[in-house]
């Protein structure tokens, strides 16, 4: 049981090259803030990248930032904020939900988990902002992809391929992200007391207008009380965030109020309360309860989300709230059983998408596919890709799919689609 803590890309390369030669599986960690997501690993050795840290390039006028993969996300966010900039995709901080310490998480983890937040609707996720990477494949080879410019179609986009790969394809050593100016002003419009279906209709109306709503969430009754220190009260809140230059925000908020005048009672929220509401929605604060009750993160077409939840409520005790206009559904299973087959069946029935079990006891994570099982052709393709990057299966083996444990190719990947 050895933990390697390289502080340079070269040391990282040596470690992985050694592990590849020895066929010694490694658990790849930044701060370990998302260690609780995925199938539990049983590797002998750990590759801890938290010492591979530091911003290597930041040019605000060029809207670009490069950092070593183990650089704390919190440090990068502070540096950007000092310059009036941000990661526009608003990466969620998983640590508190998973029982970890606040402020943990690295920039490499942001990409490896393809994090995003409420602004995903308008600004995309980590995958949409990554410009370039340097990484070490499971073959023990250091490769790079992309660059430091926004517009680049030179060769395959291996940088995007690192997004949501959870350390199973390569060990990131350096990442370059596009950064953007922070909005000068933000105002949140809250519609109060709507049922889920009414909220879905109101959000679709708002997003279908030219008011450039950057985030739309719905917190059903009681859930609303669990954000921003309870300042919203417990009445259901349907929240629309408008960001930009002051005069523009005022104009668009007025337009939205007019558009939604018959939808229900309206409130305007601004300043720190608005910011903390969205931070708490981003980080799934309503389910940050210190428990191991299963929490799902489901992505679907926005208009169908609440229908799926309604059907699910008929058969299981769940607590739910919505982000991304209703397309991102956070679920907490109140009786402790993840009900994976039931949930995934309903997701398929209501137009498709995917469900990730982001919090659960280790026994559940070992027994239930944490990531959405894929159709057999797609699972086989993914397994072939894994084998091309990591033929000895030494990088986070089995974390995403049990199928990826073999370097042999072929469609008969066990446990792929059920």
């Amino acid at each position: 049981m050895t933990t390697f803590t390289p502080s340079t890309a070269a040391e990282t390369l040596s470690t992985v090259a050694w592990a590849a030669a020895e066929e010694a599986p490694l658990e790849i960690l930044g701060h370990g803030s998302k260690r609780g997501i995925g199938r539990p690993l049983q590797t002998e050795h750990t590759l801890d990248l938290s010492k591979l840290s530091g911003v290597t390039l930041y040019e605000p006028a060029e809207l670009v930032l490069s950092a070593k993969a183990g650089t704390p996300l919190a440090d990068i966010e502070s540096l950007l904020a000092e310059n009036g900039q941000q990661l526009a995709f608003e990466p969620l901080h998983y640590s508190p939900l998973l029982g970890g310490e606040k402020g943990k998480g690295t920039i490499g983890g942001v990409l490896a988990a393809n994090l995003s937040g409420p602004r995903r609707l308008k600004a995309g996720a980590a995958r949409d902002h990554i410009l370039g990477v340097a990484a070490v494949s499971g073959r023990g080879e250091a490769f790079k992809s992309g660059g430091r410019v926004v517009k680049n179609v030179t060769g395959y986009d291996l940088s995007k391929l690192m997004a949501n790969s959870w350390g199973t394809l390569a060990v990131l050593t350096d990442v370059t992200f596009k950064v953007l100016p922070s909005a000068e002003t933000e105002v949140t419009l809250a519609l109060r007391g709507l049922l889920d279906d009414q909220a879905a209709a109101a959000m679709a109306l708002a997003l279908g207008s030219s008011a450039e709503v950057s985030s739309a969430a719905h917190l059903p009754e009681r859930v609303a009380a669990r954000v921003a220190g309870g300042s919203l009260g417990s009445t259901a809140a349907t929240l629309l965030r408008v960001e930009g230059f002051g005069p523009s925000v005022a104009y668009r908020v007025a337009a939205l109020k007019d558009l939604l005048r018959n939808a229900g009672p309206l409130e305007e929220i601004s300043g720190e309360i608005s910011r903390s509401v969205w931070r708490d929605i981003r980080d799934c604060a309503p389910f940050t309860d210190g428990s191991e009750k299963p929490v799902w993160r489901v992505s679907m077409a926005p208009a169908q989300g609440h229908q799926m939840v309604l059907a699910l409520r008929m058969q299981a005790a769940v607590d739910a709230f919505y982000d991304w206009q209703g397309g991102l559904i956070w679920l907490r299973m109140e009786h402790g059983d993840p009900e994976a087959d039931l949930l995934r069946g309903l997701v398929r029935q209501y137009g498709g998408g995917h469900a990730t079990l982001v919090r659960a006891a280790p026994s559940h994570r070992a027994a239930v596919p944490v990531f959405e099982p894929q159709a057999s052709q797609l699972a086989a393709l993914s397994a072939r890709l894994k084998a091309e990057f990591d033929p000895k299966n030494i990088l986070n083996p089995g974390r995403m799919a049990p199928a990826a444990s073999s370097a042999t190719l072929g469609p008969a990947t066990e446990g792929a689609a059920s």
Binding site: G155, S210, Q377
Partner: protein, 498 residues
């Protein structure tokens, strides 16, 4: 064709041409198979017209099942396939091969679904980019990526090339606006990536497919996000005595937190050519002309116009006009949009390059280009997506003068080397294709290229789909798969810690 080495035609395939054509007619009955040389002539090149080649046979399938059967048939018999959308590629991505089936997707031309509550459109790959906007504009929506060939280019081709456009600084490239695709692998398997929801459930194969230039799979359906049209748009036309001042103005606009809908720059030769052609009223006494378009609610646009005017003045602009009507805004753009044909009027031929650089390097790169221009004795005009650093140098030459095409290509290659040297890349939006294929080692070492080719191996292990594009030399997958490990000679025989 100047010195471009394509994969050697396979003799066995060439000998069996008649049989292959007959089998294709069984798979795609009716008018869907074209084998007469005269009729195939229309497909012999794409937008990169310097290269021409007749294919083995042209096949125009109508259904996914036909695409699947064609690919499986070819895979089983080791026959190469080149996919093609509308054929507007500027890098030779759809250049036929003598021994390859040219799979033309133009009959996949239907919009399958429009869903306004979820703001998505599901389209077949042969639908044009503009066709999607036209299908939803009566409700005030549009599809944001707008490559200048949008009247003709297909959405499937946009996926293959990760197409951008003037507005991608604010609204993103194809990769940021596609939610899902259906595709057929070379072995005939049909795979769906993504869907109607955000983000993939596993590896971001959609991200890799977007911009893969037809080497990984054939797209048969595309789901895109649509946006509500901004309330209004206005443009500023700003002239500067030097390109340095223009470049600094761009940096300051972005530094002020403003992301314009579009921000384009032209240099003196491009300004003059455009003005002579369309009489847009461009100032002729400036070295750099900037078009800044701001879109959104009118109150926002007016607010930002004030800020941009002040920034331009501070940077020494000598002219600054703000469009007062939609007509005037379009006039400002008319010159820029006609820049390529305008340059075509002042030179018998031109060669369009597509490097991207960090914006701050613009003066250095323009200077380097002037030096190269003198050395090669060929003129160059520049149009520039200034907001995202994407340069389109247009090299002026005359193909009828022996050796000038070669000279233009060498000049172009030197410009791209310069782009890479200052931290940029070979291609911002036109793709590698055959055009920049042999320059890939300027940007990537062999390990980088090998890892990209291994992705190809996972999708198409026999290298049958669009070979000869993107990679200077395709290495066999078996060879790429070998691990070179030296047990006992590693750095950590005793597992040290750092």
């Amino acid at each position: 064709m100047s010195g471009l080495l394509m994969p050697k035609p396979d003799d066995a395939t060439m000998r069996r041409r008649d049989e292959i054509v007959a089998d294709m007619r069984i798979i795609v009955p009716g008018e869907g198979v074209v084998d007469a040389a005269n009729s195939m002539r229309a497909f012999e090149s794409d937008g990169l017209t310097a290269y021409r080649q007749l294919p083995l046979v042209v096949v125009l399938p109508e259904t996914v099942a036909q695409v699947s059967r064609v690919l499986k048939y070819c895979n089983d018999r080791n026959i190469r396939v080149v996919p093609r959308g509308s054929g507007t590629s500027l890098s030779g991505g759809a250049l036929p091969l003598e021994d390859a089936v040219l799979l033309v997707m133009s009959r996949f031309n239907r919009i399958l679904e429009i869903d306004f509550p979820n703001r998505i459109v599901v389209a077949q790959p042969g639908v044009t980019n503009l066709g999607i906007t036209i299908a939803v504009e009566q409700e005030g929506f549009y599809y944001a990526p707008d490559p200048s060939s949008q009247i003709a280019c297909s959405i499937g081709g946009n996926v293959a090339e990760n197409s951008g456009g003037v507005h991608c600084l604010k609204y993103g490239l194809t990769a940021n606006n596609v939610l899902g695709i259906e595709m057929v692998l070379m072995d005939g398997e049909v795979v769906r990536l993504g869907g109607r929801h955000l983000d993939a459930e596993g590896y971001d194969l959609l991200g890799v497919m977007t911009g893969s230039e037809g080497l990984l799979g054939v797209v048969t359906e595309v789901t895109v996000r649509i946006l509500k049209k901004p309330e209004t748009a206005r443009a500023l036309l700003i002239g500067f005595p030097t390109s340095e001042q223009g470049g600094q103005c761009v940096a300051d606009i972005i530094g002020a937190g403003i992301i314009p809908g579009g921000m384009e720059m032209m240099d003196r030769p491009a300004i003059h050519a455009a003005e002579d052609f369309v009489h847009a009223g461009y100032p002729l006494d400036v070295e750099a002309l900037l078009i800044v378009e701001l879109d959104g609610p009118s109150v926002e646009v007016n607010h930002l116009i004030g800020l941009v005017e002040a920034i331009a003045y501070k940077n020494g602009s000598t002219t600054c006009r703000v469009s007062q009507s939609e007509q005037e805004r379009l006039t400002f753009w008319a010159g820029r949009k006609a820049a390529f044909p305008a340059v075509g009027r002042i030179s018998p031929d031109y060669y369009c390059m597509d490097g991207t650089i960090p914006r701050k390097e613009l003066p250095r790169v323009l200077h380097g280009m002037r030096e190269l221009s003198e050395r090669y004795g060929l003129g160059v005009a520049n149009v520039f997506h200034a907001g995202d650093g994407n340069l389109h140098p247009l090299i002026l030459y005359d193909a009828n003068v022996p050796g000038e095409l070669d000279k233009a290509e060498s000049f172009g290659a030197d410009i791209l080397r310069l782009c890479v040297k200052v931290g940029g890349v070979l291609t911002g939006e036109h793709g590698v294709g055959v055009e920049k294929r042999d320059l890939m080692p300027e940007m990537f070492n062999q390990i980088d290229l090998d890892q990209q080719m291994r992705v190809k191996c996972a999708f198409d292990p026999n290298h049958l789909l669009n070979p000869g594009k993107v990679f200077p030399q395709l290495r066999r997958c078996a060879e790429l798969g070998r691990m070179h490990v030296h047990r006992g000679q590693t750095a950590f025989p005793d597992i040290p810690r750092f």
